[in-house]
Structures are given as C-alpha cells and as structure tokens.
C-alpha cells in the first residue's frame, strides 16, 4: 500500500472529466478553412468565394468560333442542319422537350405560342414559333438566340449546355410541325382520328 497513489492526488484529478464538456464546443471541422460553392468570402474584395473568369479570357476549350456545335454558325452563316455531333432521334426530341419545358416554356408557352405564364404577367410580347418567318428560319438562328438572347430575351448559353440547346432547337422544329401539319401526311389511322375530332 505504500506505493499507491495517495487519495489526495486522486481527489484533485476528479475535475479532469469535466474537460470532456469543452470538447463539444469546437466547430473547426464543421466550418473548415476552405470555400464551398456560393459561400461568401472576406478574402476577395467583391465578397465572392466563386471567382469570375479574368477579363478577356476564356476557359480552355470553351472558345470554339469555328464550331457549329458551339455557335450555330459556320463561316459566319447560320447553319441549316443540326451539327454532325448531334443525332436527330426520338430520344433527342424527348430530351429537348424536358429542357424546353423547364427553361423556355415560362415565356414561350408549352406549345411555343408565346403564351407562357411570364408573358401573361408582363407587358412583353413573346413571338410565337408558328409564323412563316420562324418556320422557314435556319435552325442555327434558334440556337444563336438561345445562346446569346435577342431583344428582351436574355442569353441561356451559360445556363444550358450546347448539346441541350440543340435538343431544344430540334424540339422547337417538332413543335412547329405539331401546329402546322398536313393531315394527308398522317398515317390512315391517325387521319380517321383527326376526322372524328379526337
């Protein structure tokens, strides 16, 4: 018993478990010294953690003035066909419908008639796709407008990828056909349905 720690010392150490309480108070793992998207910053002068590109620079691979896929133009002329990278099929149109309904329909309307929910709430007139001018317009025009905007419409090049914008262009063509189809071109079954008013 002579080597045992005196009770007096043990009593003095009893407060040590209280230190555990302190351990719950640090938050340096929750808020680490790093930035996540959209966080404010007190380091950069403009207060943003996400940095804008340096003026007069482009991201590697994003500047493709010669590419019909990226610009809707070839040699300065609007393209009249989808770029070779885009394959026209049912899944492209289905995808185009999803993107169109999400990004375009608020103003242009689900049917492309310019009667979207925003158009109905403001003093703006949204052009319908179902006019001779736009029915005969080159597909590159729709892509260029979707990318860079026109008149009061803002550009969506930064929000929708080029592939998705082409899917929208293809779907706009389908919408135009849907409102301007020749009944005689339909299969016989569908023709009888049209005549029956279905």
């Amino acid at each position: 018993m002579t080597n045992a720690i005196p009770n007096r010392v043990l009593t003095r150490l009893l407060w040590l478990p209280l230190l555990l309480i302190l351990s719950a108070c640090h938050i340096d793992m929750y808020d680490q010294a790093k930035y996540k998207p959209n966080q404010p910053s007190d380091f950069f002068q403009d207060g943003r953690a996400m940095r804008a590109p340096v003026p007069n620079t482009v991201a590697l691979g994003s500047f493709r003035p010669d590419s019909a896929l990226a610009t809707g133009k070839l040699n300065g002329e609007l393209v009249t066909d989808l770029p070779p990278e885009i394959t026209l099929n049912a899944s492209l149109l289905a995808h185009g419908q999803i993107v169109f309904n999400a990004y375009c329909a608020p103003c242009h309307g689900l049917a492309g008639d310019g009667q979207g929910v925003i158009a109905n709430r403001g003093p703006l007139v949204v052009p319908s796709y179902h006019t001779d001018r736009l029915r005969t317009m080159a597909v590159g025009y729709f892509f260029d407008v979707a990318t860079n905007g026109i008149n009061r419409m803002y550009g969506y090049g930064a929000r929708i990828t080029a592939e998705d914008r082409w899917a929208v262009v293809a779907y706009i063509r389908a919408l135009q056909l849907s409102q301007n189809a020749n009944v005689k071109a339909l299969p016989p079954d569908d023709q009888t349905k049209v005549k029956a008013g279905q």
Binding site: M29, P37, N101
Partner: protein, 220 residues
C-alpha cells in the same frame, strides 16, 4: 456521549436522493436529447429571413416554373446551383420591374454585387454531398427539401442528421421514384408499390452491397 454524525432525517434524505438523483440525471439527459432534436437547434421547419422575400410557393406552385430554371446545375454538378442575379432578371427585367421588393436584385445586377442570401441547408464541411448523383438515381427534390411548393419563405425540411442520410443509404427503395418524376413536386413516393420501387433500385444500378454506407461515400 459523543456527538451524532447523522441527523434523525438522514435516512429519509438518503432514500429520497436515491430516487431523485437518477431522475434528475435522466431528466437532464432527456432534455439535452430533446434540445438536440428540436427545431430550435436543427432549424428544421424554421423559415429564415432573406434579403429578398422570395417565395417558392409562388414560383413553383402558381407559376409552375421548373426547379431547373433557377437551380440549373443540379443534374451535372455537386451543387444544385444557386441562381445568378441574371437568372432572376431574365424574367424580372420584364415583370415586376418597379417593385420595391426587387430593388436588391436590380441593384445587384446594375452594380455587379452579389446578393447575400441566408443559407438554409448548411452541411458540415466534412460532408461531400452531390446533387447530380442523387437526381440521376431517382431521388426527387421533395424527398430532402420537403413540400417546397408550399413554402412562402424557405425552411429546412429535415434536420440533416447522419442517421437520416443513412436511412436512405441502407434502404434506397424507401424513397426512390422514377426518373421522370424527379422534379415533380406533387409526386408521392409511396404511390408506387414497394416491389416496383425495389425494381427501380435494380434498374438504376444502385449498389446494395454496403458500398453506400461506407464512411468514404460521404466523408473524404
């Protein structure tokens, strides 16, 4: 006669404290757990004030604007994408152009200064959540974000405790939905029979071999 060390009531004190002290300790622990789970601590269901009184209820429920119009990177990035001021102005340069409620948006657009919103879903820095993979594998917006179409001011729908994340990662069939219903805020996950949801887990190639519950799935 030597002095008594214990008073006459010492036995009673002892018996009462035998019951009272465990009750008190249990009560303190229960109260702490209650606080930990309460909206006061988790902020679940508590709407925060914002610099602009943006209403999801109006934009989602009344105008039927798709989630992706504003949160446009949700399908291809870790973050759903907080809308740039330009996104607000795409419509609000035309409608509500003189509303004083939207003055901070116009100021932000004209002066190229950010709008500082109060973050609702704030994950710890050691959690690496990725929106795109959840959206691609059949987890809809409302599964985590609640009935966003009813929120005038946005509130957190979940306390975001790890146990809640693990609930889904252990049994994905509980909250999965078809891919074409991801952005449908009115869709009810339970409307699909469990057997069909389990089939979705197979179809969408969601690993059920325990990989989803590995620590490094979310922590790196």
């Amino acid at each position: 006669m030597s002095a008594q060390i214990f008073s006459r009531t010492a036995n009673a004190y002892l018996r009462v404290s035998l019951i009272a002290i465990p009750l008190l300790l249990g009560g303190i622990i229960a109260a702490l757990i209650g606080l930990y789970l309460s909206p006061w601590y988790t902020e679940a269901g508590v709407a925060k004030a914002q610099p602009i009184a943006f209403s999801h209820a109006h934009h989602v429920s009344q105008l039927k604007i798709d989630c992706r119009y504003c949160h446009n990177t949700v399908e291809r990035a870790a973050t759903a994408g907080f809308p740039a001021t330009e996104t607000c102005m795409s419509c609000h340069s035309q409608v509500w152009t003189t509303s004083p409620l939207l003055q901070p948006v116009r100021d932000s657009y004209q002066n190229n200064t950010p709008i500082i919103w109060n973050r609702i879903y704030d994950l710890p820095a050691f959690v690496y959540f990725n929106h795109s993979i959840h959206v691609a594998k059949g987890v809809g917006c409302t599964t985590c974000h609640g009935q966003i179409q009813t929120m005038a001011l946005t509130a957190k729908a979940q306390p975001l405790y790890m146990g809640w994340c693990l609930g889904c990662h252990r049994d994905p069939a509980q909250n999965i939905r078809p891919r074409d219903q991801i952005f449908n805020v009115d869709y009810d996950v339970q409307s699909l029979p469990l057997a069909e949801r389990q089939q979705l887990v197979v179809d969408y190639k969601i690993p059920t071999d325990g990989r989803l519950t590995n620590c490094y799935t979310c922590h790196r």
